[in-house]
């Protein structure tokens, strides 16, 4: 039996999309398992964990991101249809939305303007680079939308995606503290605030920690925020003279 050289085998495998696709799925499954073993803490989200492990792995085997992405793009591509699919939870909760439309819209607008203005304001004051600034701007929107927006306004999509993920875990960690401080116990309000400020992470957290009502309102806030931010952000960045 002939056995191929190990380094030749590696040359073949590392040039094949199969390896990075498989690595992404296996690492994600492992990250979910680790997170569960640690009691589902919001501080060590499976996504953050997967990204850290995959970056470590790529550095270890000395693989370029572009090579990795050739395989991983098949997963990445699904973000588009997943964004479209956000219309389904929005449609499911249309009655509740219609009833609360006024307050929700006002709260959503206030939240978005606060998010964008404080982000740009603080980052400008701290002297961040322009590319960082424009990638930070859409940070409270769910990733697929944020990446599209970042691309539109001149930020870096992959940097924006990473910052969105960081925002999500920070939002989930801060939220219980804010709710206690403001003495808010209404699950609808809690869920909406979580979905607005921490998008998908917040929605998962709302479902898991507060309940179904909070989860529904969180999903709604996530969709609404994504939609409104996509319209508002190009205008707001122009206001700051950034694009």
């Amino acid at each position: 039996m002939n056995v191929a050289d190990l380094d030749q085998l590696w040359v073949y495998l590392s040039g094949n999309p199969l390896l990075s696709l498989l690595a992404t799925l296996v690492v994600f499954a492992l990250a979910v398992w680790i997170n569960r073993a640690l009691g589902g803490t919001a501080l060590l989200h499976p996504v953050t964990l997967s990204i850290a492990m995959l970056i470590g792995l790529l550095l270890l085997v000395d693989m370029e991101y572009a090579t990795y992405f050739e395989g991983a793009q098949f997963i990445h591509f699904l973000l588009g249809p997943a964004t479209v699919a956000l219309a389904i939870p929005l449609y499911d909760h249309r009655e509740r939305v219609r009833r609360l439309l006024g307050p929700l819209l006002i709260a959503c607008l206030v939240g978005i303007v606060t998010a964008v203005v404080t982000t740009l304001g603080v980052a400008l004051a701290m002297g961040a680079q322009p590319a960082t600034l424009l990638s930070l701007a859409p940070r409270s929107v769910t990733s697929p939308i944020a990446m599209g927006i970042a691309e539109q306004i001149g930020g870096i999509p992959s940097l924006a995606a990473g910052l969105v993920l960081l925002t999500g875990s920070i939002g989930c960690a801060l939220a219980p503290w804010v709710f206690r401080l403001l003495r808010v116990s209404d699950p609808a309000v809690q869920g909406f605030a979580l979905g607005l400020s921490a998008h998908g992470f917040g929605t998962a957290q709302a479902f898991a920690r507060i309940g179904a009502v909070a989860g529904a309102f969180s999903g709604l806030a996530m969709g609404l925020t994504g939609l409104l931010t996509a319209f508002l952000l190009p205008l707001l960045t122009r206001l700051f003279g950034l694009s």
Binding site: V47, A72, V84, L86, I88, Y91, A115, T132, L166, F231
Partner: protein
Amino acid sequence: MPLIMGMSILLACQFLGELLARGLTLPIPGPVIGMVILLAGLMIRGKVPDSLRLTGEGLLRYLTLLFVPAGVGLMVHFRLIGMDVWAILVTLVVSTALTLVATVWVLDRLNRRRGRGRA
């Protein structure tokens, strides 16, 4: 077949969205417009087709996984992040806290006022 039907609906909406975004040079990502198109379609039809629900909810259940490939792209930006690491961290924490406070405060007040008006 339901997966194929559902996926076709989602991709068709995204395609229309991309077409509109590029064609009219709108500052909105194509998939977002696709989401609005799908929402309008569902409103008109009055229900979510089973095939669409199966595919859509399946995708949304694993939404977090879909962020991973782009997130790994952070490694390309280590230099930029290194330059701005404090700006980024302070901005994220301060701004996220303020966003939470503002949203909760406004929604809670509006909600309470509405509740009183009805009572």
